[in-house]
């Protein structure tokens, strides 16, 4: 599949990090769900781990420009996100799969992804090709003409991934992308992630530690709205050391060990 590449895409980036958060605070309702988070990530696949309520989804939503920071700074593609900034330029380069992915039931798969591509202000001439490519990458070619309401949960999730990648985003945010996928689809998805991560900053929020270990180049672990750990998956697996801990794999044991140490430190 060959496509036209615009000069904007090939131009060297003029910013340091694709996503950079400094002492970031983001409110979720009344609660400060992200509370003083420091994080810098670039191209690659970043697995965002953390217990329920750690602030994963709030962090994802703030990077997706749904929520505005309540404090600290969030810099996306070199632009500081604040109340004054016109977000359209950044939003054109974001792909987002929300935790709760809604869709128009009466649209066909192709129509829905086309619609999202239009909302992302892609040039009209590029849309049909980009839509087709996105559908092929998630393996839904044979269902492209089917109505969304006829799809199974796993297929809907794949449409969610397709709509997120249709504009070849510089920042791809996937909140629980593997929910509802069967083991084979998950393996295909991991392969897709690795492919995307070569030139895109992919942030994958998940509960599944093994997904992270298998597909991510980088692990980000947060708890109580703060960064607890950032490193390569091997570091996570190594973190457990000889401690006996909860978990069936080295990565899971590492995950629980890091969290336990962090919480112990906080108590002290």
């Amino acid at each position: 599949m060959v496509r036209a590449v615009s000069t904007a895409e090939t131009a060297p980036t003029t910013y340091g990090w694709t996503i950079q958060a400094e002492a970031l605070r983001v409110r979720a309702g009344r609660r400060m769900a992200v509370d003083g988070l420091d994080l810098s990530v670039d191209a690659g696949v970043h697995g965002l781990l953390g217990p329920n309520g750690a602030g994963k989804t709030t962090l994802m939503r703030s990077i997706a420009t749904v929520l505005r920071p309540a404090g600290g700074t969030l810099t996306l593609l070199g632009e500081k996100v604040s109340g004054r900034l016109d977000l359209r330029g950044i939003r054109r380069q974001i792909g987002y799969l929300p935790q709760e992915f809604g869709f128009y039931r009466r649209f066909t798969v192709r129509e829905f992804i086309e619609y999202i591509a239009w909302l992302k202000e892609m040039p009209a001439a590029e849309i049909p090709g980009a839509v087709q490519r996105a559908i092929e990458r998630v393996g839904l070619t044979d269902r492209a003409q089917d109505r969304m309401k006829t799809l199974s949960g796993g297929m809907v999730r794949r449409v969610g991934i397709a709509q997120a990648i249709v504009n070849d985003p510089a920042i791809l945010l996937l909140d629980e992308p593997t929910a509802g996928l069967d083991p084979e689809q998950r393996m295909q998805f991991r392969a897709l992630l690795r492919e995307l991560g070569t030139d895109t900053c992919v942030v994958v929020s998940t509960h599944l530690v093994e997904d992270v270990a298998a597909a991510c180049t980088d692990v980000v672990l947060i708890d109580n709205g703060r960064l607890v750990f950032q490193g390569v998956p091997a570091d996570l697996s190594a973190a457990a050391g000889d401690e006996a801990g909860d978990g069936d794999s080295a990565a899971e044991r590492g995950y629980s060990a890091i969290l336990r140490r962090h919480r112990d430190k906080q108590v002290k």
Binding site: Y104, W118, E121
Partner: protein, 461 residues
């Protein structure tokens, strides 16, 4: 690309289904009416009054569509896209508007099956009525979109249908104690897109709406008011911030002010006679027939009997007419035609049964080709004066056609047979002279007993 998205919305939004259901409901109500609509104008006005039913449905369809983003839980995802809300809602609003206009026009087209004469006169003044009806549908779906987006609840759609129906039915009757039908009803009734029709034919025989039209001012006031509602609805739907929403209400105030300035004080003053409908159009070939536009569809049925009547009169009477002019019976007065013109009175919506060759021929020859003088008719339709008058006129038909006088089932029939017998008993030149005398008396609406003139021992006896 906007065009492709519009195409998708035309297929996938609620627009096609709503259009189908609303058109079906409208057609059902129109066809449920026992009698077919007499004229195009009657049908067009009927459809405008029918808005009382279909506007609330259009409002409900709009609201249902307006809730789609909430119902489908796409708000968060769409919020992260660069395209601003007002651009996003345009294809949807466009698809809904196209469907609304199509619904109105398809209903009208479908309703022509319930029209007495689809080939009848379609006045230009029907155009604004149809266009404003379609515009009101657009206003309804756009206001519905706004309400749906502002109150995204599953109950919103049924609620606005009920609220719209109540507003369009109850409020007009609350404005004035006797409703829109009374002479004193205010022009404010024109704020309702479902036409409130006053008594158009007060003191005259009812001809429905066929010979009437709404003044240009009244149409303009309605159009501007509905346009303001539509624009406000769309702006309200497209607005993303509370401040813009408030500003979106501005057109409503503006439209109301302009409409109030344009509307007449009295509803009845908004309706006027349509001079174009009663204007005569004439054939260029023989026989020469002039007919009001509102009756022009009857022309084909008139040609044969008109030619025959003119040639019979020419062969049997001196100074016979050479052309036929049709007069709308309901609007008839005793204005006498020129001697060269046979004046035929036809009911505006004469049924096909009244338009058979034989009946038309008999009607044209009555009184020697002169319409009856209304001023000579007795007060009672069965009075002796009337009976003798009618009998004399019918006897002339029998004499001209060389057969029994036509029977209309009244007491004049037997009298006409007797009169014809007496007339035929006279010498031929006498017969011709007496018929001519009767015809000339009719031409001048002279007083005097016509039966005496025809058969009596009067001056000619």
């Amino acid at each position: 690309m906007g065009g492709r998205i519009l195409r998708i919305e035309l297929l996938r939004s609620v627009a096609p289904l709503a259009a189908l259901l609303i058109a079906a409901a409208g057609l059902f109500v129109i066809y449920a009416g026992n009698l077919p609509e007499a004229s195009w104008m009657d049908l067009v006005v009927r459809q405008r009054t029918l808005l009382v039913l279909i506007l609330p449905l259009a409002l409900g369809a709009g609201a249902w569509q307006g809730i789609r983003e909430r119902r489908s839980k796409v708000e968060e995802l769409f919020h992260t896209t660069p395209r601003p809300r007002w651009r996003r809602v345009l294809p949807t609003a466009g698809a809904m508007a196209i469907a609304a206009v199509a619904t109105y026009l398809v209903t009208l087209a479908g309703a022509t099956g319930h029209l007495q004469h689809a080939n009848g006169y379609l006045p230009a003044s029907a155009g604004p009525l149809i266009a404003i009806g379609a515009l009101s549908m657009v206003a309804a779906v756009w206001v519905g979109l706004a309400v749906g987006a502002l109150l995204p609840s599953p109950l919103t759609s049924p609620m606005v249908v009920v609220a719209g129906f109540v507003a369009l039915t109850l409020v007009p009757n609350m404005i004035h104690p006797t409703g829109p039908g009374s002479p004193g009803s205010p022009g404010g009734y024109l704020f309702f897109p479902n036409l409130q029709v006053p008594d158009l034919n007060e003191g005259k025989v009812d001809t429905g709406a066929a010979l009437h039209m709404l003044t240009g001012r009244a149409n303009l006031a309605q159009a501007l008011w509905l346009l303001a509602l539509a624009v406000a609805g769309l702006a309200l739907h497209a607005a993303a911030r509370p401040a813009t929403r408030l500003a979106a209400l501005l057109p409503i105030a503006l439209g109301a002010v302009v409409a109030v300035a344009l509307l007449p004080a009295n509803l009845a003053a908004a309706w006027v006679d349509n001079p174009h409908a009663t204007e005569l159009t004439c054939t260029t070939d023989q026989p020469r027939i002039c007919i009001p536009r509102a009756q022009s569809h009857m022309l084909d049925k008139l040609r044969d009997p008109a030619g025959q009547a003119l040639s019979i009169l020419d062969s049997k009477l001196p100074s016979a007419p050479v052309a036929v002019t049709v007069q709308i019976d309901e609007r008839a007065d005793d204005t006498r035609p020129a001697a060269d013109t046979l004046l035929l009175r036809l009911e505006l919506n004469a049924s096909d049964a009244a338009l058979t060759r034989d009946r038309l021929l008999a009607r044209m020859l009555e009184g020697g080709g002169v319409p009856l003088c209304l001023s000579l008719m007795g007060r009672e339709p069965t009075s002796e004066t009337t009976t003798r008058y009618m009998a004399a006129r019918l006897a002339v038909v029998g004499w001209l056609l060389d057969r029994e006088p036509p029977q209309r089932g009244g007491p004049e029939g037997a009298l006409a047979i007797a009169a014809l017998g007496a007339l035929r008993a006279l010498p031929a030149d006498q017969q011709r002279a007496r018929v001519t005398a009767l015809r000339d008396a009719e031409r001048g609406c002279l007083t005097g007993d016509r039966l005496d003139l025809l058969t009596g021992s009067g001056t000619n006896g």
